[in-house]
Symmetry: C2
């Protein structure tokens, strides 16, 4: 009903060619003579023609759109990761549509429906734990989906990410190697994140008899980290280190410690998880775990496009992460 912008037919008319030929050059088909291609391109330019994506999608049954649902946009880990996905998709002519779940299964489901309604051909989900309603929906509609931010070989469906449990274990071992025996562990809500659950379990598994861990669950925000720090300080003044399963929590810990007059790392050591950009700037610089956000995004995007185009099956990939030693952990030895 609205104004009509140049359709493929206008270009056809302008060039005296058929719509099929226009379509061919628009899609980079080989079977077009250089001269006609040239002519078509010029006409497109002149008419300011842009193919109608809806018509194209309708005809090909390919929206070239893939969906990602992340818990939050506020942490730059996700920002980096999403940027990487988008970049890879873009390079091959796909688009990313994003939704935020706020860690709520029902919001995730609603977003998924919406994304499906936008024509998403595949889904990138964060974590491996999702409602069966969502998973069933995707299966029923035959929409490929992959789990990220986790690498879990035991999972039935492919996971692309890192070994949260193992990394948390490594972190505990690292602190232990520095002589810390009493450690406060700050983490987000376990009900909200299977990655948090894995980290907590990994930490527990790594704790030997002579080291005691004290877990504090809080909101995954700076405020949460700060509040939990104060409680931990009161309840376990003997703890010499704080392991934070997110840099954001670590930032809150720094603030809480500062307010309590504790020096990092002299009085209390702090270790993070994520390697956010400010972690190298904070005083003292934060020892943390560098998560391979960009690599993860690239891998995910590539696998999905290969699946869509070449029917190559999705498969699990473990990305490696490392502890970045900086100045926030004191060596007690």
């Amino acid at each position: 009903m609205e104004k009509n912008f140049g359709s493929i037919r206008d270009v056809a008319r302008e060039t005296g060619l058929s719509t099929a030929t226009i379509s061919r050059v628009m899609n980079g088909s080989e079977n077009v003579s250089p001269s006609t291609r040239q002519k078509v391109l010029e006409a497109c330019e002149k008419l300011d023609y842009l193919p109608n994506p809806a018509a194209r999608a309708l005809s090909t049954k390919q929206s070239r759109t893939i969906a990602a649902i992340i818990p939050t946009i506020e942490h730059s880990v996700f920002a980096k990761y999403i940027a990487a996905i988008e970049k890879s998709l873009d390079a091959r002519g796909y688009s990313l549509v994003l939704a935020i779940s706020n860690n709520k299964p029902d919001e995730e489901l609603i977003s998924a429906r919406k994304l499906l309604g936008m024509g998403a051909q595949a889904f990138v989900l964060t974590g491996a734990k999702h409602t069966s309603t969502l998973l069933d929906l995707l299966v029923r509609r035959d929409v490929p989906h992959i789990f990220t931010s986790v690498w879990n070989p035991g999972n039935i469906k492919p996971t692309i990410g890192y070994d949260n449990s193992g990394l948390a274990g490594k972190a505990v071992e690292y602190l232990a190697s520095k002589g810390h025996r009493n450690i406060t562990v700050l983490h987000g809500k376990t009900v909200e994140s299977d990655r948090t659950v894995a980290r907590v379990e990994g930490a527990k598994a790594a704790a030997s008899d002579d080291i005691s861990l004290h877990f504090y669950e809080t909101d995954l925000h700076v405020a949460g980290g700060k509040a939990a720090t104060k409680i931990a300080l009161r309840e376990h003044p003997e703890n010499t280190a704080m392991l934070c399963f997110s840099d954001v929590l670590a930032l809150g810990a720094y603030f809480g410690l500062s307010e309590a007059g504790k020096d990092v790392p002299k009085n209390v050591s702090v270790m993070g998880f994520d390697n956010l950009d400010w972690s190298t700037e904070i005083v003292p610089p934060l020892t943390t775990i560098d998560l391979p956000a960009s690599e993860m995004g690239a891998e995910v995007a590539t696998q999905i496009m290969d699946l869509l185009e070449k029917k190559r099956e999705l498969y699990s990939v473990e990305l490696s992460s490392d502890i970045i030693e900086r100045g926030s952990v004191q060596d007690l030895n």
Copy 2:
């Protein structure tokens, strides 16, 4: 060519009705008897039917998709703002597609083309300064667009946002009222942002004869703020306050000051811009300017949808912001 998921025809067949009726039900038309509506809804449920967005868009020439281009996703001001836009759009059945420009005009243009290629019906642009190529493109294709994060009554096209210049001026006046006469001003690249330019100008305009401002341009990151702080400290040790045109820069300033052994606010006062979530947690809590990110998002979304549906013209709106007094500015009086 791919598998076919339930089309409107399947529902029609299942219910023994015509596709027109199914369509009516799906679009909430009044002219359907309750019983048929019920029957159709059940069939949709049973067949797991979801209207094909491409077909719908092709037929109506309405993608119900609107685009927003923001400079970065890494600052939660934008996250809040985008969340608000999305929420409002969602409530009326529209979708948001997002692109990041990284403050680069050419990336913005590329994104815009892509978004157009995805069928975006309207654009939300950040700031009022954009390449004429982009603006021409939008005008030529008759795509409505609005500028945000700025309120500039002198602008030819509508702007929805706050008075960057005025707010910066207020900030300077505020610091002056607290007795600060020598002030370091930290800001991002002026070439990248007209909002930064406006803030710088506003600050200059507000500076009376007896107060001197020293401007430092840096990267809009924590690291940039920290680095600039160190330079400023060296070049203007007499300055008693730092006005940061972004909380992120203020965070860097805290770190830089801390490393230099300066206490906030005892030795140096710090004032921010944005009111990010951690600004209340940091020690001392940051005095900053609360930008109306959510209100802005809601306003933008509403105006655009009203334009699309009711042809109501876009118009400029100034959103008010306030200085939030916390503990990072010392009263020298």
